[in-house]
């Protein structure tokens, strides 16, 4: 800024003043003022008119989209309970985070029996009483990819000024629908492919190869959750990574994805 000021001072002293000095009022304004026109430029009725009315009135969003497997198998070994608790923690931390230079928005897509928007993309601080996931049915992951892609491509729901979205996929089993075509569409979509993708494999039956293909953040390779506590640890890392981004110099840059170590005194049974 110093340089800019310096330059302009030089210019105003030696060059520009010649052009400026004689101008007291515009010789010919661009348009005659019209009392009937709306959205007209400020007519200078106030001494200091304002450019503020042209500024967007909402903060830049940082969307976080979770694609959660809620198929019947998630009902075993306390997985769905752990996921519900981790989700609540994450959303409430996002809502309370006060250092933010961006508004964290959360959207939840579930796929258990059918794929659906469990929670439409909304500001985390506006989420009241997050309803719990219920484990039921098959694993239509492909349909969930379609929903995610549609959301990421929708410029009304995620405007171009938004920070790069984060998308998190978690699953404990094999997809039961034709997931490859929707997955390719997601990866090939000009807009959707720009999102950061994280993945968590829950238990030994998860399709790790597919989840590895899904993840695209070099800072965060696929995370394997062996027990309920691991699900919490993963979402604590997601929360930390997102909140660090919003407080960092550039919220679009991926930050270190560090999963906190397990508590030594925690007693947890591994998923079978």
């Amino acid at each position: 800024m110093g340089f800019a000021k310096y330059q302009e001072d030089i210019v105003s002293r030696y060059v520009g003043d010649l052009a400026m000095r004689s101008i007291k009022v515009p010789v010919s304004p661009p348009k005659p003022s019209s009392p009937n026109t709306k959205n007209q430029p400020d007519q200078r009725t106030k001494k200091m008119s304002s450019l503020k009315k042209f500024a967007v009135a909402t903060p830049r969003p940082l969307p976080v989209i979770v694609l959660a497997d809620t198929s019947g198998s998630m009902g075993e070994n306390g997985k769905i309970e752990a996921l519900n608790a981790a989700m609540k923690d994450m959303v409430s931390t996002f809502a309370k985070e006060s250092r933010l230079r961006a508004e964290i928005q959360v959207g939840l897509i579930t796929f258990g029996g059918k794929a659906q928007m469990h929670l439409p993309l909304v500001a985390a601080h506006g989420v009241a009483g997050l309803s719990e996931f219920k484990a039921d049915g098959v694993t239509p992951m492909g349909a969930a990819f379609d929903l995610a892609r549609q959301l990421l491509e929708d410029k009304d729901r995620i405007p171009s000024r938004a920070y790069r979205p984060v998308m998190i996929l978690l699953s404990d089993g094999q997809p039961t629908d034709d997931w490859e075509v929707p997955f390719k569409a997601l990866r090939d979509s000009e807009r959707a492919q720009k999102a950061t993708r994280l993945a968590m494999a829950i238990g030994p039956d998860a399709d790790e190869a597919m989840l590895k293909d899904f993840a695209n953040d070099v800072e965060a390779p696929i995370f394997k959750a062996h027990n309920a506590r691991d699900i919490h640890r993963f979402f604590r890392a997601v929360t930390m990574s997102v909140t660090t981004r919003t407080a960092s110099q550039n919220p679009d840059i991926s930050t270190a994805f560090v999963v906190p170590p397990p508590d030594d005194d925690a007693l947890d049974l591994d998923f079978q």
Binding site: M1, A4, E8, G16, A19, V25, K31, P41, L51, R191
Partner: protein
Amino acid sequence: MRFIACGASVIGPRHLDLGEPNQDAMVLAGCRGGWIAAVADGLGSRARSDLGARSACQVTRRILRTTSSSVDLPATLPLIHQQWLKAIDPTAPRDAATTLLFGRVTDQGEVHAAQLGDGLLLVKCAGEFRRVTPERTAYGNQTWALESTHLQDKWNCMKGRFTKPGDGVVLMTDGVADDLEPAHLADFFDALYQDLSARNRRIGRRWLQSELNDWATPLHSDDKTLVAIFRTSE
């Protein structure tokens, strides 16, 4: 033909909090009865983006001053890139990456402008408003920039002529551009003209600085830079 030219660059709250320098830069200089303007936004993730942005503006001013006004801007782009690389040496181009928007208005009202990367380039010629910057296809802060390789095909260029009062060119970095309502850019352009043409440049600059410092978008954080050149008389 008379012009009013004004510009301001303010540091954003994020850099203020972190005690870091403004990573935007600007130049606004008179040249043979016309004006030269440039704004640059150093990429926030790069260590010396402030140097990159400042150098890009200085180099642009120097080259446009010495180049005949009859030379098309696209022809000067490789030279600007080459001179920018020299100016930032020994800093690695990657560490000094920056966007760049610039314009030249001759004393006859011929306008040439070009843009690489984020930000917004608006022009009005013969009373017709135009957004030169294409719509962004992805999300914020993913941008082309001056780096080690010259990207001729990534530049957006325009040329035209100011024929009416209120014609002009406005260049701004994404700290301003991303927070403007896309549907009201033409009104924003006209409001700028009305406001700046009612003030002398020093007061106009102070007003612009205060508008940028006191930006209305909640949680705004980026550095903000805007330069405008308008024709004010027949």
